[in-house]
Amino acid sequence: MAECCGKNKAKAPGESCGCEKKETVLLYACSGGANVAEVADQAARQLTSQGSGSMFCLAGIGAGIPGMIQTARDADVNLVIDGCPMDCGKKVFDKAGLTNYVQIKVTDLGIEKVKVARATEEQVATVVAKAKDVLAAGR
């Protein structure tokens, strides 16, 4: 859970906390069963662990959980990593009435959708690099 500034709890009351200026970047990955979904998922997790953003719940947006939709609405950046041209993640956002997102698609990056194959490190790295480019361009 991304607390606002738990690490600064020990500071004096009223003292400004460093997290105030931090941009909220939320990452959503395709949750399908094919390899491209695994690539999207692994890329989102890697981006999260590298500090590029925080992976968030695409299913929660799809389910219409109000707190999650409001979280997405208030985020500075929502990056949807779709697996294939079905654009499910994008459609979930559109259906929820959320327009403040950018989308990348695994199959647009030269990665073929194959039902039985597993994600490779190289594929994940390709998506991570693209996501970083997109996030950097938006700033």
Binding site: M1, E3, K9, G14, E15, C17, S54, G60, D74
Partner: protein, 77 residues
């Protein structure tokens, strides 16, 4: 009577959000009750993963931001 819930762990941002929410309610002259929720499990029940957040009468109004009192007034109407 409006119920204002401030979701957060007690950091300066959370306190500022509570101050602004109270200021907005007072400026509007509405009856209100304010509740501060700092337990992460309780916060997550709202579907919220980023704090602070403001909930008005059970409806999540803002997440991860600290709007000023003027902006909060619009959320209380």
């Amino acid at each position: 009577m409006k119920t204002l819930q401030i979701l957060g762990t007690g950091c300066p941002k959370c306190k500022k959000l509570a101050e602004n929410a109270e200021a907005a309610a007072k400026a509007m002259g509405i009856e209100y009750a304010i509740e501060k929720i700092s337990d992460l499990k309780e916060i997550m029940k709202f579907g919220i993963m980023i704090t602070p957040a403001l909930v008005v009468d059970g409806e999540v109004k803002v997440v991860g931001k600290v709007p000023d009192a003027e902006a909060i007034k619009a959320m209380l109407r």
